[in-house]
Symmetry: C2
Subunit: 134 residues, 2 copies
């Protein structure tokens, strides 16, 4: 992407200078969802289902999911662990707010997970930080 060289000429033996392609390189999307339905933000089972589906939509492989519900009327903390890193959610139904992060390396496409989560949670507004990792 931004690291691509403009030159297409030269030997075909592959890159010979500069940093090697890095298997650890990844993208980390931090997404603040405001204006989400409180009932959904307090439903740990539904959120787990949505995060797992989002991981699959991104082409990631799910290792496991761990969700904790803080009690009636309260929010949820959940993480879906991936071969490609993780997706997490922390929700505050009382603020109609959820903090998500989607971190994926390799060929998985975190923006597809984000798109699916936006569709599923239907926030009134979203702010995203897109951070290159590695």
């Amino acid at each position: 992407m931004s690291g691509q060289q403009g030159q297409a000429s030269g030997p075909v033996s592959g890159p010979v200078s500069g940093p090697a392609p890095h298997a650890a390189r990844g993208r980390h999307l931090l997404a603040d969802f405001h204006g989400v339905a409180a009932a959904l933000l307090g439903d740990a089972a539904a959120l787990e289902r949505e995060l797992v589906e989002a991981a699959r939509a991104a082409g990631a492989r799910v290792l496991g999911a761990h969700f904790h519900h803080f009690g009636a009327g309260a929010g949820v903390t959940g993480v879906v662990m991936l071969s490609e890193s993780h997706i997490s959610i922390h929700s505050w139904p009382e603020h109609l707010y959820a903090a998500l992060d989607i971190f994926m390396c390799g060929a998985a496409r975190p923006e597809l997970a984000l798109r699916r989560l936006r569709a599923a949670l239907a926030p009134a507004s979203v702010r995203v930080h897109d951070v290159a990792r590695g």
Copy 2:
């Protein structure tokens, strides 16, 4: 912080305009650790211990820890779930690299967790993104 009003006058009935103080406000530190000893980056039990200690150093309450080792010579994916959000690590021993994120809301102090993890993992270089959430 940045949302504070400059006015101290007016009735003492509390805030009546502008955004209310937000319990969901937090800090999310994304830390890239380069030049970490490969043996440590492949030691799931040691990394779990360090992340739990880092959470405690920050004043956070640990809900659980979930670590996955990708096999001999390979890295680790791990998450410590907190009442205040989470700490995660993804490691690549072959690159002497670990991607950490430390997300805490409330009174916990993520910078203290980061300080402890720097001391424990002794990276040759560190890059940190500090993102306000909420």
